[in-house]
């Protein structure tokens, strides 16, 4: 521990800093929020933010930054909060991260910046995510963020997919003076940020504001374009005059479990369930036309233990579900969801059926779901993922009555771009091959990153890939070297 107290504007000694408790995030009461789609976390006040910022030890070698996929200078922006320079703090974050209001809300901080915070050896880590969110929201409310304009380079880049990695690439490259156009298959910009993550965790207004900001910077967007079908990568490069293409098409095809009854009415993939709710606003039916099954008074379960699973089941609860279960085949320790979401879900009354897996979906004989036959599991030896492999306990079968089941066990690669781009290398799972360092693919001028390269991961990892890609695209456009 070597705080640089001499230069510090923090009035507290390192010892006193550790005595300040981690400030609690104000949130909507669990019993209230379980019935609405308003955001759960309400955000820090300036006072709370400054109080929390005081806790930073200002390490000489900040491990928080090392452990951030986009390398935010945490120490510097937190110190700006200490002295009340909130806009300066926001500008500092923006040097590394074009979507701070989003990452401040959805990053798994406990695995990244906060996970390596020195404070956490003795007390709770610094609330870096809360602080990031605070300054991003503050900047937005003030409406004062600076729109950088760079000298045009005359180069054009096409970005395929408007999710977190595509937006990061676009935001970084426009600031280098390249012309950037983002193609989106759906009718709204934002990818998983608009179709996947629900309003109560990431209000869509926040996403729109971030995208408006990118528009102000000069990024162009074109919706309703499925690259590979509407236009191919080759056509973008050869006919439409793009000098480089970034592929960030994201999580692909939802995986199913291949157990009997998966085709029953009432069984959804998490992607479909969440898309109906978030993108199509089916919960506002009949004002919005897209329907979904009425969940009022119904028993609903999600299968899976990731963020998507929790987003789905907490949405079901808000749509009136009587019982809302998470069915997960491993234990708490292996659950990949963000800690805060698990905590919030428990507060809201979600029933976690751990070490449990469905083996069959049960039917009323007329094609509608009535329940899931489940087995209890034990954890055996570690598998290829390094997590202990669940093994079914003989004779542990039981039936769980359900009207709706949502399958959230991951995705496999969407083949549309790969199958329509000759020479674009893929790996065994069908994901696009790209260098870990440069995000270059096997095709000259084509870069890729995010879930279409790694398989399902997080918003911030996709943004990290976007950031590396932008750097490497800029290099390629400047030097012409491949």
């Amino acid at each position: 521990m070597s705080p640089t107290a001499a230069k510090s504007k923090n009035p507290l000694s390192p010892k006193d800093r550790m005595k300040v408790p981690r400030q609690l995030m104000p949130e909507q009461a669990a019993e209230l929020r379980a019935h609405n789609f308003e955001e759960v976390n309400l955000g820090f006040s300036p006072e709370l933010a400054q109080q929390e910022a005081l806790r930073c030890l200002e390490c000489a070698k900040p491990t928080c930054t090392d452990n951030c996929p986009v390398g935010i200078d945490v120490k510097d922006f937190v110190q700006k909060i200490v002295v009340g320079d909130f806009l300066g703090a926001a500008a500092k974050i923006r040097e590394a991260n074009v979507l701070p209001a989003i990452t401040g809300r959805v990053c798994p901080q406990e695995d990244q910046c906060e996970g390596k915070c020195l404070l956490s050896k003795k007390v709770k880590p610094l609330g870096i995510g809360y602080l990031e969110r605070f300054v991003a929201d503050y900047e937005q409310r003030m409406g004062t963020h600076v729109v950088p304009h760079a000298e045009p380079t005359g180069k054009k880049v096409a970005v395929v997919g408007s999710g977190p990695s595509g937006l990061t690439v676009a935001g970084d490259l426009i600031q280098k003076g390249h012309k950037v156009r983002v193609f989106e298959a759906l009718h709204e910009i934002g990818g998983v940020l608009v179709y996947g993550i629900p309003e109560f965790r990431l209000p869509k207004q926040i996403v729109r504001e971030q995208i408006d900001y990118m528009r102000q910077m000069g990024v162009e967007f074109e919706t309703d374009v499925v690259v590979g079908r509407t236009v191919t990568i080759d056509e973008l490069l050869e006919e439409e005059g793009y000098d480089a293409v970034y592929v960030g098409t994201g999580a692909g095809l939802p995986q199913f479990m291949n157990i009997p009854g998966e085709h029953l009415n009432g069984v959804y993939s998490a992607n479909e369930f969440l898309t109906r709710i978030n993108l199509m606003k089916a919960y506002k039916f009949p004002v919005y036309d897209e329907p979904m099954l009425d969940l009022h008074g119904k028993d609903v379960a999600v299968i899976g233990g990731g963020n998507t699973a929790l987003d789905a089941i907490r949405s079901a609860l808000r749509l009136g579900a009587r019982k809302a279960y998470v069915i997960y085949r491993r234990s708490d320790a292996e659950m990949p969801a963000r800690a805060e979401e698990v905590h919030h879900a428990r507060q809201e009354g979600i029933d976690f059926q751990m070490l449990t897996a469905p083996v069959e979906f049960l039917s009323d004989g007329k094609g509608w779901l009535t329940g899931a036959r489940c087995v209890r599991m034990d954890l055996g030896e570690p598998d290829s993922s390094g997590r202990r492999r669940p093994v079914a306990i003989e004779g542990s079968e039981f039936d769980l009555p359900l009207s709706v089941a949502v399958i959230a066990i991951g995705t496999s690669a969407n083949p549309i771009v790969q199958s329509t781009t000759p020479g674009l290398g893929t790996n065994k799972g069908g994901y696009i091959q790209a260098s870990d360092e440069t995000q270059r693919t096997t095709r000259k001028g084509v870069f890729a990153g995010g879930d279409i390269v790694t398989g399902s991961a997080t918003v911030i990892l996709a943004m990290g890939a976007g950031r590396r890609a932008a750097k490497s695209i800029h290099e390629y456009l400047t030097t012409g070297l491949w």
């Binding site: 095809l253 992607n271 099954l293």
Partner: protein, 304 residues
Amino acid sequence: MFKIIHAQFLAPGIKRFVIEAPRIARKQKPGQFVILRIYEEGERIPVTIENSDPVKGTINIVVQSAGKTTHLLNMLETGDSILDVVGPLGKPSEIRNFGTVVVVGGGVGTAMAYPTAAALKDAGNRVISIVGARNKELVILEKEMRAVSDALLITTDDGSYADKGFVTDKLRQLIENGTRIDLVVAVGPIVMMKAVSALTRKENIHTVVSLNPIMIDGTGMCGGCRVLIDGKSEFACVDGPEFDAHKVNFEVLVQRNAMYRDSERQSMEEFQAREQSASVEPMSRKIGETWGTPSGHATQGEQR
């Protein structure tokens, strides 16, 4: 925003739209479809592409009124716009010289069968087309189908035009007459495709059907369009929409397409009440005023 260059009824409740969509027009191949959304609160629905003109940058779609969205769509006129049109989606039909191909179009499905028939003819096949409709008024694209077929057979359920009966009657006759058939392509109502499939399975004739499950994104992301093919889940939007008919579980398709029947009925009833109410602004007028000329009157639709 996608502008409607021309709108015209082909039959009661069945309308053809020529839409400005240059990117789609350049890429469209037989067997593919688009997904569209008419207005901000609208749902996304898959719609058949009949044809496209890459030079003019237009696509033709053919829509039959069934629920609220298709009714609203069919109230749009020349000069109106559609908020979102995305495509062309799905794998194109397999086009090569098979020998003799029977192309079966049922109802509005004829619009999707037509470009496939034309392409198969171009590829050197002998094309026998069978078009079926409920009655004389609902026979569409007769002239177009005749132009791309070596023979065109027409049936109507009620006998008000051509021969009374079903498309399967004609297909059975062809088989019984000893016509050598190398491939059957059938596009139409599920019950028709299922009947065609049952007939050709017995005769061991390779048969392809184009499936129309419920869809949202059309790119494979949501999995809502999953169909049971040979006991395995496949996605109609990326793996299809055409599948080997003899491997399709039609019962599951019918069951899954009925998933939102109650909501669809509710939507339709509220829509009709609104259109007829004197005190509330009709939806069709609202859309017309926002995006173009006021639209015409509702047409009573036919469920295909």
